[in-house]
Structures are given as structure tokens and as C-alpha cells.
């Protein structure tokens, strides 16, 4: 009887866990990867450690984490978003275009002294002239033209670039601000690419 009582929480946990691929799925992958990978250049072994967002999305993939867990992780991501200190959201669209084109940054083969690119074109259509764009993300062509430049729209877009996982927890898009991939000025420049009327995105 006592044993049965002790087992109760375990038994109760079974249906909950069955929604995911298994609680130890991440631990299993991580353990194997730790013995199968080695630090190289700027890519140290700590990159194999998952934060809450990564762990949740991996555990339930290809499905989605349950609402409550997802909401908590999204709130944490939202809390990490920082607006530009000077209140100015828009930089130089030409520099933004260069950042959107640049695919290097954070790979062990990259120079850690050089700023990372955003590699936006890997997944998005942006400038009308650039035909080599990917389709993992939606087209952003005519982005500013269609949406205007209200403060609300600028803040929303800034936040999405800064941390898309505050909006869609398991989005494919990197958290450019929260994870320190792009700095504040670079995000301003990418914002200008999206919103400036002279940018090829809006022409």
C-alpha cells in the first residue's frame, strides 16, 4: 500500500509525459553530443547547453509545447527585449542591406572579431532586386510601405527582430537581440531596410 502511494505521483505523471517525445529526449541528445563534439574556435562546448525555450521546443518537436509552458517561456523572452537607448529605431538602410546579405557570424569558421551578419535573405524576400532569397520565413518585400511607420509598428518590428520567440516560441528565426547576434546599431540598420521609403524593400 505504502509503495503504491509512493508510486502514485509517477503513475499520474505518465499521461502528461506521453504528450512529449519523452523527458529524457533532450538529455539523451545532449549526453551523446557532448561526447561527440569538440570545442572549435568561438564555438565552445557550452553551446550544446539549452535554455528553457530551446529545451521546450526540442522536447515537443515536431509538435508544439503545451500552452502554459509556452506562455511562461515566451514571457521570459519578452522580458529580455530592450528598445534602443536613444529612442531612435531607424538607422541606415544601406548598412541594413549589407547586414541582411551577410551570412557569416558565430560559426567556428568565422572570425570572432568581425560583426555577425543577419543573413535575412537566407529565409526572407526583402529587396525587390534580390532574387536569391529563401522561403522559410514570410516575404518582407514592401514591408514598410504596407505597414506605415507608427511608433507601435516600429516597436513591434524591433521586438520581433530582437526576440521572435517572445511571439512564436518555436519560430525558426534566431533571437538576434536577446542572443547577442546583432548589436543595437545593426538592428537599427536592418529596421531602416524594412521601413525607409528609399530602401529597395519599399521601392
Amino acid at each position: 500500500m505504502r509503495i503504491l502511494i509512493r508510486l502514485m505521483p509517477l503513475l499520474a505523471a505518465v499521461p502528461l509525459l506521453s504528450a512529449a517525445a519523452g523527458p529524457d529526449r533532450n538529455a539523451q541528445a545532449r549526453a551523446a553530443m557532448q561526447s561527440s563534439f569538440k570545442a572549435h574556435g568561438q564555438a565552445g562546448m557550452e553551446r550544446l547547453d539549452q535554455d528553457a525555450t530551446q529545451a521546450l521546443c526540442s522536447r515537443y518537436a515536431p509538435g508544439m509545447p503545451p500552452g502554459e509552458d509556452a506562455a511562461r517561456a515566451m514571457a521570459a523572452n519578452r522580458a529580455s527585449i530592450r528598445y534602443p537607448a536613444d529612442g531612435n529605431f531607424l538607422g541606415d538602410w544601406k548598412r541594413g542591406e549589407a547586414i541582411a546579405q551577410e551570412g557569416t557570424g558565430k560559426q567556428y569558421s568565422d572570425d570572432p572579431g568581425k560583426p555577425s551578419g543577419g543573413n535575412c535573405y537566407a529565409c526572407h524576400r526583402l529587396s525587390g532586386d534580390e532574387v536569391a532569397y529563401g522561403t522559410i520565413g514570410p516575404s518582407l518585400y514592401q514591408f514598410g510601405k504596407n505597414r506605415g511607420r507608427s511608433e507601435e509598428m516600429l516597436k513591434l518590428t524591433w521586438s520581433m527582430i530582437y526576440d521572435m520567440k517572445a511571439f512564436t516560441l518555436c519560430s525558426a528565426m534566431p533571437r538576434f537581440g536577446s542572443r547577442g547576434i546583432l548589436d543595437e546599431q545593426q538592428i537599427k540598420d536592418v529596421m531602416a531596410l524594412l521601413f525607409d521609403p528609399d530602401s529597395p524593400v519599399n521601392r
Binding site: 551523446a32 553530443m33 542572443r179
Partner: protein, 277 residues
Amino acid sequence: MKASAKKFGFWLAAAVTAACSFTATLVWAQSAANQDPVAEYRAMFGDDNPAELWLTRGKDLWTAPRGPKHVALANTCDLGMGVGVIAGAYAHLPRYFVDSGRVQDLESRLLTCMVVQQGFKQADLVANRFGDGDRKSDLEALAAYLVDASRGVPISLPLDHPQEKRAYALGEAIFYYRAGTHDFSCATCHSQPDKRIRLQRLPDLATPEGAREAYTTWPAYRVSQGEVRTMEWRLGDCFRQQRLPEMTYGSDAAIALTMFLAKNAEGGELAAPGLKR
């Protein structure tokens, strides 16, 4: 007279055929080039794949006595279907090997054979795992030759050993494991149909169609590198782009992920070495 008419007829037919096929190739190449520059390359080269050179060298490396122990792999190496049997062997890899006590893919199995049977040092072999210009890799040449011996054979992995099942489950866990500065997993790019990165098509590797399309055409001659690359190279370079540390050649993660992809590609007919961008 008769002979020369015949001759003329032959040359006319040949010329017409050539013109037609040239035009057809050109038109096809041009339309294909809009979407896939490698299709254009394939159209130009027809059936000629530079991987032939690797294949020829691989055959020599397989059949000649080599290494400190001066034995031929053809007389000592078991790829899972018996010593020296290569026809169809790649279609049943990765698999569990009793002698090594682990599940192995082609590359890790070759390492075992070359170290245990031929007496090579593992570190030397691994240091030369990827060819670069004049310094060619024996592993890449052997892989090209051995994979070609399974051309047209459907992939079949029964997973009847518990370790093989475990490898598949581990491979799946790794496929969905998000980490690093960019939160990428394999699935971030490879779990949706009809997507592309820049202009490069992305196979959905969790589905049979996508896995077959990808898995059956590796190893491949990479035009951009001028080398034949194997699946382990492909996986390692994906992890580099995922911003993760370096995947170790022949490691458990590499083999498990290969098992996941190969099993998903079950039934697909091997068409490697392929030709890729």
C-alpha cells in the same frame, strides 16, 4: 556509292540527334538554371561525374594490400554482409557490428577495418578524412567506390538489433535538438516541405520523400569544393552552420543521425555518388 550514302545517312542522323539533344539540353539547362545552377552543370556534363576518379582510386585502395599489416580490405573487411562483400552493403548501413560492439555507418566502419585489419593509426586516418586539393582522402575515395557498389539497391534497415533501435531514437532526438546562439536544430531547416534557403532547396528529412531525395545521393561530388564528400562531412558542415562546436568524425552522434536519415529514406534506391553544388 551505297556505302557513302549509308555513311551520309548515319552522319545526318547523328547530326540531327546531336542538334536535337543539344537544343533540348540547352533549353532544359536554361530553364533549370533559373532555379538550380547544379542542374545546369549536370546538363553540361551529362552522365560524367568527376566522382569517377575517386571511385577508381577507391577500388585500388579496397583491393590492394596496404598498411603496416599489408592486407587488402577486400580480404579482411566486413561491411555487414560478409568479408569482402560490397554489392548492396551500403544499403544496409548503419548497422550493429558484433566485433566492434557498436552501430557503425560506412565511414566509422572503414576506420575500424583500416585500423584493426590493416594496422593504420586512427589519428592519421581521421586527420586526412576530408581531401583538399592535392592531398586526397583515402576515406572519401573508398566511400565513393563502396557506395557505387550499391547503386540502384533500395535502402533496407530492419533495425532488428536493440542498439540499432536506440541509435535511431538518439538520431531523432539530435535531429530536433535546438541549441547554440541561433537556436537551430536540423529540423529548423529540414522539417518543412518545399522550402529553400537562398536558392538552395531544403529536403524535409523527417519524411520518406525528403529523406530519400537527400540520403540516396550522398556521398556526392561537390562542384564548389572539387571533392567527393560523404554523409559525415555533410552532417558536420550542417552543425557548423548551426553554430555548434565541431562534430567528431565517426562519433556516436554522427552515426545516430545517419541512422535516423537512412531509416527515414527506407526503400529509396541509392544513386550515389551524386553530383551537387
